[in-house]
């Protein structure tokens, strides 16, 4: 518990939850600062509702990206998948150079408005860091260890499960961390195609020239991303080899 009290994740997390639930309570402050905007706090949807929807989109897309990314990396590092390695890296990189707005624009005609195109865009966008890191992590396992594992009679699956993945885990996690953090920020633009996210007040504010809405949405998205990143940092420390903690 002493360690938990020292982590900024806890304090920033508390701040985040407080703002999320208590934003309407700040109405007088925003009303004083922005006298011409009424209501002074975004009220088309509750912030908690927006957050939960935002979280759901990111969780769905990032989980899929993490699983697919690691699976692709595992395949790319098998003898049978050697040819796939270049293609996988190339595809994932191409996904990254595509602006998420463009992915959204392309996904909407196929999938309609709302959450679905957003999840697809986030998935495509989040794949690269996972694939890249997972390949680097698995390839970073010293050849001697793989040889020893095989030489002792581990099956290919056992080598992967007991040696390669545990040793690559910190690097893979770093990739997932980047992927998720980026997804939290990027998910906001899902609001332009009708998904409910913490970006909704931002785009509402921008469209209606209501600066406080932009501010409320932006602060919450930023805190959400920072707290998540810090939680990953805690997880990464846990995942360090037991002897090096």
């Amino acid at each position: 518990m002493r360690i938990a009290l020292k982590t900024p994740a806890l304090w920033l997390g508390l701040l985040f939850v407080t703002l999320l639930t208590g934003m309407p309570g700040l109405s007088p402050v925003f009303g004083w600062a922005f006298p011409r905007v009424r209501p002074a706090v975004f009220d088309r949807a509750g912030f908690v509702e927006l957050f939960l929807s935002h979280l759901g989109l990111v969780a769905a897309a990032s989980t899929a990206a993490a699983l697919a990314g690691v699976a692709a990396a595992v395949f790319a590092t098998r003898p049978a998948g050697r040819d796939f390695r270049t293609i996988a890296a190339l595809l994932a990189a191409a996904g990254q150079t595509f602006p998420p707005a463009a992915v959204l624009a392309l996904a909407v005609p196929a999938l309609g408005f709302g959450a679905r195109p957003t999840v697809v865009a986030l998935f495509v966008y989040g794949l690269l860091p996972v694939v890249e890191n997972a390949i680097a992590g698995i390839e970073g396992v010293p050849e001697g260890l793989r040889e020893a594992a095989q030489g002792m009679g581990m099956t290919p699956w056992q080598v992967l499960r007991r040696v390669e993945l545990p040793l690559a885990a910190p690097v893979i996690l770093a990739g997932v961390r980047v992927s998720v953090t980026v997804a939290i920020g990027t998910a906001t633009i899902g609001s332009t195609v009708g998904a409910l996210t913490l970006g909704t007040p931002i785009f509402d504010g921008l469209a209606g020239n209501k600066l406080p809405y932009v501010l409320q949405g932006a602060v919450l998205v930023a805190l959400f991303a920072v707290v998540t990143d810090l939680l990953f940092a805690v997880l990464a420390r846990r995942l360090q080899p037991a002897d090096r903690r």
């Binding site: 010293p142 030489g151 002792m152 009679g153």
Partner: protein, 311 residues
């Protein structure tokens, strides 16, 4: 003549059309410590790795304990063969005890039996279980890591042990201790060991049988004494080295073969299993011409004199 433990017949391997091992034939008797000796690139490591099929051979037959080694599932074969490599290959995320338990756990031994075996092996390798079992590989010295590597290879009590330049990366003092350890384990367990090295001194010290390799073939195989005294070709003569031949002969002969039974001498006795080179070194260091000789159990059995070395 009983059946050899390992029999390679006409074995070959090429990479990109270049033959690394060509038509190699070798029989290793049961209980032998066979050293594959040769310059780097002679195919000795490839030959070793064909025995546990880490390198698939292109042609020929390999029999282990009379059975076709190319037939059974490769994992089943490897779990019966201990394997030690130069880089130790210890899993850095597993503790010493878990590293040693690798193969027994792959074989689904009951956990109490695994733990007892790990304990036994740590003691055999002179690593105090209370201190070492819970450590991680990076907390050990190079020599300790290689001891754990040997313990891990022995864990499931394999009939055969393959060692690929296991001591090439450790300092000379540690290497000396590890060689003594292997000699002792070989003697105590009677396991068949195939040991790859390019170090002639290491080969002479450990081997009961040496196969000298050059360009993918065995150019001579025989006892260390054969190799040193009757090299079959100029290559072998050059590789074994003419210089210091006398000292090399001392290094392959044992005190046991030259001692005068029942004789007495003063001072700390030397082990009967020691080489004549070691006896000579002890005489020079102590400035004496005679040493008492004791068997491994400490019982004094005779003496050896300077003159006995040149008989």
């Amino acid at each position: 003549m009983s059946e050899p433990m390992i029999e390679l017949r006409g074995v070959s391997k090429s990479y990109n059309g270049r033959a690394v091992v060509g038509d190699l034939t070798l029989a290793v008797p049961r209980g032998a410590l066979c050293v594959l000796l040769g310059p780097s690139g002679c195919g000795k490591s490839t030959t070793l790795r064909m025995i546990n099929r880490l390198v698939p051979c292109d042609g020929g037959t390999i029999r282990i304990d009379g059975e076709d080694a190319l037939r059974p599932p490769v994992e089943a074969l490897r779990r019966r063969i201990g394997y030690v490599i130069q880089s130790t290959g210890l899993f850095p995320h597993w503790r010493v005890d878990d590293n040693i338990a690798t193969v027994p756990r792959l074989l689904h031994w009951p956990e109490p039996r695994v733990r007892a075996r790990v304990h036994e092996l740590l003691e055999m390798l002179r690593l105090d279980p209370r201190i070492y079992a819970g450590k991680y590989p990076h907390q050990l010295s190079g020599g300790e890591q290689q001891r754990v590597g040997v313990a891990r290879a022995l864990a499931a009590d394999p009939e055969l042990l393959l060692m690929d330049e296991p001591f090439a990366a450790v300092d000379p003092v540690t290497r000396d201790a590890l060689q003594a350890e292997i000699a002792r384990i070989h003697e105590a367990t009677g396991k068949t060991i195939v040991f790859v090295t390019h170090d002639i001194a290491e080969a002479l010290r450990l081997a009961t049988m040496i196969a000298v390799m050059d360009r993918g073939r065995v150019v001579q195989s025989g006892t260390p004494l054969d190799i040193v005294e009757r090299p079959a070709s100029d290559f072998v003569r050059d590789f074994v080295g003419v210089q210091g031949l006398g000292l090399k002969l001392l290094a392959v002969r044992r005190v046991r073969d030259r001692l005068q039974t029942g004789e007495q001498a003063d001072g700390e006795p030397i082990d009967a299993g020691a080489t004549l080179a070691e006896a000579l070194a002890a005489m020079v260091a102590r400035r004496v011409g005679r040493l008492a000789v004791a068997e491994g159990d400490g019982r004094v059995v005779g003496a050896i004199a300077l003159g006995d070395l040149v008989r």
